[in-house]
């Protein structure tokens, strides 16, 4: 619980000081700043301005040093009695309904561990890759075509590949596409892990249909403007299918993981699993902080 004494309470306390020391006003920082500025201004006016600036700067330094050495100059300010009221007229607090024994809870009450999101993301990555490669083999005639396209999203050298080269293997494009695919998939999986508990009724609908539809719509809208060359190579039906595949698989994998209680309010030491006496200070009411 916070504590704050008003000036009146301080005055009532027999041991409390009646005055407070604060740093004394001083002109030397201003003198030094003015001298410093003139020192530079002399470069564009005359040397005499710089000379005046140097004198002021030296005076400012000496004055400032004398201000803090051997003892910092302070001035005494009397405590002024004042009427501070820390109250509220809004006594009614509206609460979300949570467990009867709790006044408050961190929402969502249960969530997925980080590992669930990563697993879901990687599983979705496999599903998406299978569909994309199937598209490459069945429609484009080369498994490397979608891989080169993916790399071209961030790697301009891939975009420069000629029509024939887009269908052949390129180590740099492959490496970039692989890393990009895994990282983005894991991150999106994490996002699913974080968001699915908040949409508890139909998580698969969110992950498998709504999110891919929104994402595909966004990409379709902006890619034509941002990168028309890349957009012209994309088969949007297969693109949406692979997004949906990712979403459904990632959603199912995440949803199948066991949930845990939200730990946002727990200290880092507890979340890290450190067990040591005195690590968690007891609450004011005597509870042990668990």
């Amino acid at each position: 619980m916070a504590t704050l004494l008003t000036a009146e309470q301080v005055m009532e306390s027999p041991r409390a000081p009646r005055e407070i020391e604060v740093p004394a006003s001083t002109v030397w920082p201003f003198v030094l700043a003015f001298g410093f500025t003139l020192l530079f201004a002399g470069l564009v006016t005359t040397m005499s301005v710089s000379a005046l600036g140097a004198v002021l700067a030296v005076a400012g330094c000496i004055g400032w040093f004398r201000e803090v050495f051997p003892h910092e100059h302070e001035e005494v300010v009397p405590i002024v009695p004042e009427d501070i009221r820390i109250t509220t007229e809004r006594r009614t607090v509206e609460r979300l309904p949570v467990a009867a024994y709790q006044l408050r809870a961190w929402l969502p009450v249960h969530t997925y561990p980080i590992s669930a999101g990563v697993k879901g993301g990687l599983a979705g990555a496999v599903a998406m890759a299978v569909l994309a490669c199937a598209y490459g083999v069945l429609k484009a005639g080369s498994i490397w075509y979608p891989i080169n396209l993916l790399a071209a999203a961030v790697y301009a050298e891939s975009l420069k590949l000629g029509p024939a080269q887009l269908y052949s293997f390129h180590a740099d494009s492959f490496e970039i596409a692989l890393v990009l695919h895994l990282i983005v998939s894991a991150l999106v999986g994490l996002l699913y892990g974080a968001m699915l508990p908040m949409f508890a009724r139909r998580p698969i609908v969110l992950g498998g249909l709504i999110a891919p539809a929104l994402w595909s719509g966004l990409i379709y809208t902006i890619l034509g403007v941002v990168n028309p060359l890349l957009a012209s190579h994309i088969d949007w039906a297969w693109f949406i299918a692979s997004q949906v595949a990712f979403g459904i698989v990632a959603g199912i994998v995440v949803a199948r993981q066991s949930r845990m209680i939200t730990q946002e309010n727990l200290p880092f030491a507890m979340r890290a699993g450190i067990e040591a006496p005195g690590m968690i200070p007891p609450r004011e009411n005597g509870e042990d902080g668990q």
Binding site: A2, T26, L32, F36, D83, I86, E89, V93, V226, N285
Partner: protein, 557 residues
């Protein structure tokens, strides 16, 4: 309202001679007074830069207009850009950091009060040095009387051959001097937040404003240093025969661009992160809910601070970097949108289900959310190398960054001023005038900057002095300029509100908004020592704990 007016029985205030008052303000090391000085100084430069913008808009109002000469036009957009970024944006945010951080963390002052004063005066004198060029650089060697190289001052425009006289030097020296001030302030903010927090205020209990200013100050240290180094190199080029940026002697103009933008883009985040801080403090209070996702907000800010250091060359897509660099900077630019999106999501999450009070500060916050989202989306568009290649150097870019800096920073600053004005002055701002200011400024802003995207898409280049009729730009430019004047009227109303309310506003009391952070636990304006006793906190909302002892946050954190 949670409290009544402050009464100080038996205290009689004597009128002081104005010379004494002036002396007190010039010699002050009190963080609150320095904060106010920063804010007033920045507001002065806001008005100056606003007048420059209006002259620019009059010039562009009609085709073939000659309201000012091309030379004056160049000087105007140089001064406008430089002033708004260095002498309005940064100082006003430093001002709020100075004023609020010690109060919010329960400290009596900044860690280094004298350095604080020194930093302020350096920043202020840097601004005056820039404008002294109007007098000081007059006619030397037949050169212009103010810098005219743009706020980015690309090489070789700054070479002696193309910029004789001293106008460019004034620009360089002004930024150099104010840059030292910025670094001093950043050191002070970091030291204050890390070392001066009151008992119980662990890092995870700090107000988000303190967290975000900590990140901002760290970024200032990293970003301003390259700019300062570049200014020194430019001085060496111009005075000592150096060739850092002299392409005809083996130097590199692109080197300047890298130096400038490695400062310039983090600078955007240096300006916007404190605005995020304002949002994070104001939105919960007027939504009557705690901030949604405090740890994620902190993490997102750190992430923005980190990633924004690696996006600078998206300003340089058109200079001919190789495809690897283009790809890298496209990806990092897209990536920085993720934590920013998280923040917007969390502010909306805070408002969701809240009992929103549409007071003036909250109105500005809501407008900020919408406008910053649009600015972010056009930013993502321009972050794509392919898109930027088409629209770079067009008015689309001008519209984008004004959406960020006016729709974002200026709206957030108005929100902050309206929110903390009662704390700083002890008086409430007039709500009616405030709402009139908000709506007029909102209409003017959208008339100007929404429409400004279209001339850009139609091919209107930025920095253009005048244009041919019949290109489809005429009506748009006329409306854009009219919007600028509406904004100017709104700002006049705002200034009038500040002045009128200072003398005739209702007494504020210590906590007029029923808020939860420590600055509202002391009188308005606060005494020199801030708190009669150093507070002890046990949660992120210490005043909530005091107001609701039956169910304090400290029980759950």
């Amino acid at each position: 309202m949670s409290s009544n007016a402050i009464t100080v029985p038996g205290v009689q205030i004597d009128e002081k001679p104005w010379v004494d008052t002036l002396h007190e303000w010039v010699t002050t090391v009190d963080h609150k007074r320095l904060g106010v000085l920063y804010i007033l100084y920045a507001l002065l430069f806001l008005v100056i830069a606003g007048v420059e913008a209006l002259i620019i808009r009059i010039q562009l109002m009609f085709p073939h207009n000659h309201f000012v000469s091309p030379e004056v036009f160049n000087r105007l957009f140089t001064l406008h850009g430089t002033t708004m970024v260095f002498f309005m944006g940064m100082p006003i945010l430093f001002g709020f950091a100075n004023y609020l951080v010690p109060l919010m963390i329960g400290a009596r002052d900044m860690a280094f009060p004298r350095l604080n004063a020194f930093s302020f005066w350096l920043s202020a004198l840097g601004g005056f040095l820039l404008y002294f060029s109007l007098v000081g650089a007059n006619g030397l060697y037949g050169a212009g009387n103010a810098p005219d190289v743009g706020w980015w001052a690309y090489a070789p425009l700054t070479a002696r051959a193309f910029s004789p006289g001293h106008s460019t030097d004034y620009w360089t020296l002004a930024l150099l001097v104010s840059g030292f001030g910025s670094i001093g302030t950043a050191i002070n903010i970091i030291a204050t937040i890390l070392c001066m927090r009151c008992p119980g205020m662990k890092l995870n209990r700090m107000p988000l404003l303190a967290w975000l200013n900590l990140v901002m100050a760290g970024m200032v240290l990293i970003a301003v240093s390259p700019l300062t180094a570049a200014q020194a190199m430019l001085l060496i080029d111009r005075y000592l025969g150096g060739h850092f940026f002299d392409t005809q002697a083996g130097g590199s103009a692109v080197l300047w661009m890298h130096f400038f933008w490695i400062f310039g883009h983090p600078e955007v985040y240096i300006l916007i992160i404190p605005c995020f801080a304002f949002m994070s403090e104001i939105i919960p209070v007027f939504s009557r809910k705690p901030i949604f996702g405090y740890p994620v907000m902190v993490a997102a800010t750190l992430c923005i601070g980190f990633v924004s250091m690696s996006v600078w060359a998206h300003h340089m897509f058109s200079v001919g970097m190789n495809s690897y660099a283009n790809s890298f900077f496209t990806i990092t630019t897209m990536a920085v949108g993720v934590p920013t999106g998280i923040k917007i999501f969390n502010w909306l999450g805070t408002m969701w289900g809240g009992r929103i009070q549409f007071k003036v500060p909250m109105l500005f916050c809501i407008a900020f959310l919408f406008q910053f989202l649009i600015a972010g989306l056009t930013g993502v568009m321009l972050g794509s190398a392919a898109f930027a290649s088409q629209l770079t150097l067009s008015y689309f870019v001008v519209a984008h960054f004004h959406y960020t800096l006016v729709g974002g920073v200026v709206f957030a600053v108005f929100a902050a001023i309206c929110y903390w004005y009662p704390k700083i002055t002890g008086r409430m701002l007039n709500e009616t005038l405030g709402k009139l200011h908000f709506w007029l400024f909102l209409i003017g802003f959208h008339l100007t900057f929404d429409l400004m995207h279209f001339p850009g898409l139609l091919g209107m280049p930025r920095r253009i002095y005048t244009y041919e009729p019949g290109r489809g730009w005429n009506t748009l430019n006329l409306l854009i300029s009219i919007g600028g004047f509406i904004q100017a009227i709104a700002i006049l109303l705002f200034v009038a509100n500040l002045i009128i309310s200072y003398f005739k506003g209702a007494k504020a009391g210590n906590d007029p908004w029923d808020a939860w952070t420590l600055e509202w636990a002391t009188s308005s304006p606060p005494p020199a020592y801030n708190f009669a006793s150093i507070p002890v906190v046990a949660s992120r909302r210490p005043l909530w704990d005091l107001k609701h002892p039956e169910d304090p946050d400290s029980r759950y954190e």
